[in-house]
Every structure is written in C-alpha cells, then in structure tokens.
Amino acid sequence: MTNSFNEFARAKMFLVIGSNMTEAHPVASTFVKNAVLKGARLIVVDPRRHKLADFAELHVPIRVGSDIAFLNAVMHVLIAEGWYDKKFVDSCTVDFDKLAATVMRYTPEYAADICGISAVMIRDVARRISSVHPMMLCYTLGITEHTCGTRNVMSTANLQMLLGNMGVECGGVNPLRGQNNVQGACDMGALPNVFPGYQKVGDLALRSKFERAWGVDGLPAHNGLMIPQMMEGLVSGQVRAFYIFGENLANTEPDIHKVEHELASAEFLVVQDIFLNETTRFAHVILPAAAWSENDGTFTNSERRVSRVRTASPAPGEAKPNWWIFQQIAKRFGHEWTANSAREIWDNEVSVLAPQLCGIKYHRLEGDGLQWPCPDENHPGTCFLHRDGHFTCGLGIFTPAEWTPPAEVPDDTYPLVLSTGRRLTHYHTRTQTGRCEGLNDILGEETADISPADARALNIAHGEMIRVASRRGEIKVKANVTDMVPKGMVWMAFHFREANANWLTNAAFDEITMTAEYKACAVRIEKLTDPASMARV
C-alpha cells in the first residue's frame, strides 16, 4: 500500500475495485464503513454485490476480467472532459501522451460492451471520482489474479496519477495483501529476482555487497524460477529437489490434478510445516516447525508496518523455529551462521542489508512498530509513499495497458464463469482455522454461489447438491443461491478439500508475475439428478 490504514477513517472518497474487504480484510473494512458513516463517498467496482456495496453510493458490476477496459474508459472520459489533474500530470509524470493515445480508443460505448455496464455509468464514475480530491483506491486479488494482472495494476496506478491522487494522505494505490506476512516475505527477498530490500540479483555491485555480508562468493546472477515454473520443472526433471516451507500447494494452486502430478514427480521433496496436509503426502522428509506465537519475530503488514510477534507458549514435541532449521542445513554445508535468534537475524543482518529497513531495530518495535522506508534510527517511518509526487524513480511513468480477455471464456459447453476467493470464517486451506474450536460450526462446507436467475433456469434449489465441471475436473457441491452473484457466474473458495475450487481453476498465468487466473475460468453446472449427467459419472 502506498498509504496507511489509519487514513481510511479520514478519507473523503474511496474507489474499491476487486476487493471483498468485509470478508478478506474485515478490520480494514470497518474503517471504510466508519468513513462512510461520517459522510465519505464510496464506489465499489466488482462483479459481485458483496457486503461493502451496501455502503456504497454506486456499485459498478463489471464483468469478470474487464477491469482494464473499464479503467481505460474512465480515463478516456477524464481526459476528454478535462477532468484530470493537469498540474500533477505536467510536473510529476511522464508519458501522458502514450496513455492518452491508448485510452482514446476506449470510448465509454466501446468499453460498455466489454464490461457489461452502461456507458452512462462509466461517465458517471468518472464524474464522481474527479469531483473529490484526494480519492483513495483500494484493490485486492480481483485485480491481480488474472492473466492480465500486471496490466490491471498498472491501470489502477495510471488512474491515480491522472487524478493527482498519488503522494497525498488519504489517496494512493492500496493493494490489501492477503496473508499476514506476504509483504514481509517479499521484503526479505523470498523472490527469484531480488535480495532482501528489493536489490536486484542481476546487479554486480549488489551481488558483491551480499557476497561480502554473507562471506561467500559466486552468488548467481540470473533470476530464478517462479512457483509455476518450479512445479513444471518437477515434471521435466529441471528441478530435482524441492523444498516447500509452510505452503499447502496441493490445495492452493490452480488445477489440483496437474499440481498433484507435479508434486508426485518430485525426485526429492522436503516439506516443513506444522501439520500433515495434502502436500505432505508427496514428501520424502517432513520437518516439524514451531508455529505463530511459539517463537519471537516480526511480521510486515500491507501498509509496510513491521510489528513484533511474540512467544506465548512453547512449540510441541521437537518442533523447532524455522530459522533454526535453515541454519542447521547451512551448517551441514560448512556454513556457520552466527545469528541465534530472530532478533539477531533482524538487527545484525536484515536491517543492515536492506536500505529501507536500516532504521528498524527490535528495540524500536515495542509499541506500534515502524513503517518502511525507515532509512536510519532517528527516522519515524513512512505513512505514505511518493510525498508531493516524488516517485522512487523520479517522475511517475504512465504505462498504458490494453484489455485482453481471460485465457478461458465461457462457451456452449462451459457457459458460466467460475470466480474464486476467500470467505470470512476460514483461512486458505483450513489447516489452521479448521482446527480451531467453533469455526467449522459456523462454516462447515464449501458451496457454489450462483445467481437466482441461473438457479431458476436450471431448476436448482438453494442448498441442493449440484455438479460443477470445468475442462480440468468436476466436483459435487451444495448450491448457494444468492443475489450477491450476477447471472452467468459461479463463485467458490478453496477452504475445503472436497469441493475445492482449485479442482476446476485454470493454470493460466500472468506472463510477468506468473500469477494464476484464479478469478476466471469456464464451467458448467448440472443438477445431480439429471439423468444425462448421471450417465457421465
């Protein structure tokens, strides 16, 4: 996030796109609702009429995967009507001409057909968001989990630069991150192209810096593989040994049949986790890890805030802190790592090597933590980025994006779109929340959420077991008939092994980030009692 959660309650306007905030980031949504009760304006752009839309002055039900067409058309109107921030564009950005040339073709009428909404509504959105400054844009995985995810993100940034909403309090581009420490894992360099602090592995000077710090030579210069490439490498033999730390890939990756084939192909698979799960079935060695609240450390949240995690109770049996396990493996390769606690790792290595984190030391994290960038120990941390329109690279660069449809779109055989996400009560594959007393009683099974119109057309009753099938698999699941879902869509989550949406999802990826298109694939639904479908079982 360029900005911070504490700005939500003070913001004057929000555009929330592709974010089911009340379920996926419940506490963040409470601050948006507080702002709305105090008079702030809210536009929700989402195929589903989810709970936050109840608080919005306008719900814009665009079709799944039409975000770029929508945002380009809004920018078309802003430019055509002169409703954008010319001063900000002139002084803080470059390549406005390129953006203007691209969005010129996205007239509201042209985009309306792609987005499934009226041209009037697109103009209306443009008028509303240009009338309040600043406006805060929030998005979640509805933007990123597409084959065009990178271009979706670029489009949100284009819009906010065009409106001059960058570098100001209560503005910015704010992706709400899905996991407690996904920001931190990125910051720590658990990525194939960067060292800790986003320092590129391809840069000779940076490699030398890390070689000196780690007392090694010959750090590799070429980028490594991303998860989908690793998984495919297991089948091709390019990857022979695979080490999975705290991920239940067998349930979370798209197309479970494909994923399980890949995991089963691993020549040597190490899984380090706190429970047996669907992924450990394929392991050759399983290493028992200490869990949350069983060792000290830090998490970094969506707003770049580094906060302390503390020990409440001991790990069971012989389970060990993860950092200790990695240290012990290094030792068997002749590397003696001296840091012997999370605090020593952070204070002596992480915050020394990552420039954004240099001012963050454990002794400064007792209260509310610190938000990076925090370059020195007297720095108070940074609530919002790009202050006064000063971007990291100098000027903000408009990167125009062309709309492309999802990799798989409905046809006669698979006439509906399956879109997926998270539900409030559970988390991911339920390895944690499924073992907490009470939560399974509140939500005990997966459902296929379908519209009343589709339910009527197929004579499906609320609560009836149905079959959902895609080109990759099929599942039996209870139908949840709800007007939250538009006609033509099936919506599901991945919390339960049975009826996990990932039996159906499409392993098509954004070509830059390799993010899977969890938000769109083609499916059909059938009554189980339908004799024709029974014959196919």
């Binding site: 506490v27 990123t144 989990e145 899905g178 407690n180 420490n181 996904v182 920001q183 894992a185 990525l191 060292f195 592995v201 780690w214 750090l219 590799p220 490594g224 998860i227 690793m230 390019q238 695979f242 080490y243 999975i244 705290g246 991920e247 979370t252 040597f268 986790d273 060695v285 028992p288 609240s293 998490f299 949240n301 805030r305 302390r308 503390r310 109770s313 001991p314 049996g317 012989e318 389970a319 993860n322 950092w323 990695f326 240290q327 493996i329 290094a330 068997r332 590397h335 790592w337 952070w346 992480v350 409030l424 988390y427 944690q432 929340t433 073992r435 907490c436 009470g438 009683d441 969890y518």
Partner: protein
C-alpha cells in the same frame, strides 16, 4: 480552535468547544466513572453512572453527553454525586445475576446468595468475569450494599446456541456498549435494543440467535461489554484474570496486521483481545483474530521429523532428517547444478524465517530458485 475555561473540582480546566464534560475531565487527568460510554461512538447517557454536579443545575447531568461550557463549575465526587452513583449501582446489581455482591447488606448471607447464583448459572464457579468487571469494580469503589431492592434475574435465558459467544442476559445491565460497538465501531449492524421497560433486551435480527443474524462473530461486543453478559465460550470459566499474563503480538491471518493481546494462562492462550489504541486496528479484531488461535494446541501438530519409508513415514531424529536433506541436496547439486533445486517460502511465517530460507538458497545452494505465494 480557541480553548475555553471551566472549573472541575476547584481546578481550572481548559477545553475545546464541542468537548463533553467527560472529555474535558479526562484531558485534565480527572477520572469520572463510566459504564455505557464507548470512546469514538455517539454518547447515549444510558447508564447514568457518570453523573456529576454542575453548579446552578437542578439535576445531575451525565458527563459523557453534556457539553462542557465556559465558566461551568463541576464537582465529580461530591456527596450528592456519590449518593446518586450508589443508588444507580444498587439498582444495577439487583437487576440481574451479579454474584459479586460482597458487601451484601440485608441479611448478610453472602454464601447463601453465592450458592443460589451459581446454581442458577448452571456452574459451580464465580461469575466468568470476576475480577474483570467494571460493575464489580465500581460496586467496591463506592462500597455499595445490596438487599434494599428485590433482586431478579430477568425473563430471558442464556443463549448458548452458537459456538463462540455466550449471551447471558441475566448479567446484562443494558448499557448498550455492545450495540454501539456493533453499529458504530465495526458497523456490522447485527444487534440493537429490543422490547421496552423491564422487558428490554439486546436483540439480533428481531430477537433470534446470533448465528441466524448478521453477526460475523468479530468479538467486538465481548470486548465492549463491561460486565459478564457477553463472554467467549472457549474462555468461559477457564480464563481468570488473576492467573493470566498478557502478551502483545500480531495476528497470523490477513495482511492488516491487527495487534492482539494474548491472555496466557498455564502456558496456553486462554483468550484474545484487540490492543486498544494500537495501530493499525485500534483494538478491533475479526472472527479469526478473536477466535482462531487454538490450532496451535491441536493434537495433530507435527512433533518430530518424519522420513518416508515405502508408502509410509517413520519418526526420525533431527540429525538424521537434516543429514538426509543435506546429503540429497548435495548429490543433486553436484550432479545437476544448483538450479536443479528450488524452494518455496512461507508468507505466514515471520520475516526472519523467509530471510534465512532465501539466504540458504542463495548463499549455500547458489541458486535464485526461491519464491513464495507473493502474488496470490
């Protein structure tokens, strides 16, 4: 804005226009008791425990809902105020199942009273919030004796129908903090006041069980409840404040990073509350932050390294398991080069774990084949 002057307990106090007497007093470090007041929400003046004496005023106004005014002279603990607060507390204690009435006046049979209350509670225990109850604290502070008024427990049975929150209407003092917490803090709009007079009750969805309402089990109402009317089912009769230490930590679920207070008793987390006033959540949690902590105590936890043997796993020592991992990785790297190994880190574990894992892959194995679920 220009500050204005008033007098509280004979001291000159500055306040900003728009502040209530309570806010002016708090800013000046003067304590006024509250029960129904919930910071950041609309004052209701429902409980009247914050009454104060204002020179020239006929009645005792509530400090939480009365604006401070220039020249106003306020007494927060005058005999008249204390007498009023005692009466309010006496009435509250007699209005329900409040078995902390230690200074029982009347017949003085505290033991009999306790046993009767525990019996009606279906438990041999003290009130589940004994020692963590604002009503109890105030009853002791103001030395309130009970017995003058007929005690009754109200017409509504406990709601035990959902797995997470116990609603004990016999302990509810109808202060409305839970209603404010639900409607103005978390804005889930699940509960409100229902019925009238002696039949008043906090209701969900037209007086249905919480599970059949808009309730999302965020736990905000429990945290707001000043008495024992709303308690965590998992912690009820297990958690006792005098046996507990608290540990501040960060929630392990979504990317908001809510600050939690873990209430640790006998080496286990007994319950979780939000850290009031803390960034980024200001004391708020969701159903997972409030109730999804006990997975760490599951019998299913992995306790020892496991090594595959045929179709099954056998237990192994750390040395054996780590030696095997190191030797297989060495063999494969020697035969096929460092890029024949790859690793996926964990976006739920601490920063230091991800740092160590990428360091292992880069500096020891010499590959950049390290990733995590960064983009999903």
């Amino acid at each position: 804005m220009t500050q204005q002057k008033m007098m509280i307990n004979g001291h000159e106090v500055l306040f900003s226009p728009g502040q209530t007497i309570l806010e002016a007093a708090e800013a000046a470090g003067i304590w006024i008791p509250t029960l129904c007041h919930l910071k950041g929400t609309t004052p209701t003046g429902a409980c009247r425990i914050c009454v104060v004496e204002v020179a020239g005023a006929r009645t005792l106004p509530t400090a939480c809902s009365t604006p401070a005014a220039p020249g106003m002279a306020v007494q927060t603990e005058s005999p008249r105020v204390i007498e009023a607060r005692r009466l309010i507390l006496e009435l509250m204690l007699s209005s329900g199942n409040h078995n902390c009435a230690a200074l029982n006046g009347g017949d003085g049979d505290w033991t009999g009273f306790q046993l009767g209350v525990q019996d009606s509670d279906g438990s041999g225990e003290l009130c589940p919030v004994w020692g963590d109850c604002k009503l109890q604290d105030l009853a002791f502070r103001y030395q309130v004796k009970v017995g003058r008024f007929q005690s009754h427990e109200g017409p509504y049975p406990q709601e035990l129908a959902n797995p997470l929150i116990v609603r004990d209407f016999s302990r509810c003092i109808l202060c409305g903090r839970c209603v404010q917490a639900c409607n103005e803090v978390q804005v889930n709009r699940a509960i409100s006041f229902g019925y009238r007079g002696a039949l008043s009750k906090i209701v969900a969805a037209g007086d249905r069980p919480l599970a059949d309402s808009e309730c999302v089990f965020c736990g905000e109402c429990i945290q707001a409840c000043p008495v024992g009317a709303l308690v965590e089912k998992k912690a009820r009769y297990r958690w006792r404040p005098w046996e507990t230490t608290t540990v501040r930590t960060t929630c392990p679920y979504c990317g908001v990073g809510c600050q939690q207070l873990l209430h640790v008793q006998d080496g286990r987390i007994a319950k979780v509350t939000g850290v009031e006033g803390a960034e980024p959540n200001q004391g708020r949690l969701c159903v997972k932050g409030c109730f999804a902590y006990d997975f760490i105590y599951s019998e299913d936890r992995l306790r020892t390294p496991l090594i595959r043997e045929g179709g099954d796993f056998r237990e192994a020592s750390w040395d054996e398991a780590l030696d095997l991992v190191a030797s297989r990785f060495k063999e494969i790297i020697a035969a096929s080069g460092p890029d024949a190994v790859a690793g996926v880190s964990c976006a739920r574990s601490i920063n230091e774990d991800s740092y160590q894992m990428q360091k292992l892959f880069r500096s020891v194995f010499k590959t950049n084949n390290i990733d995590h679920c960064a983009r999903t």
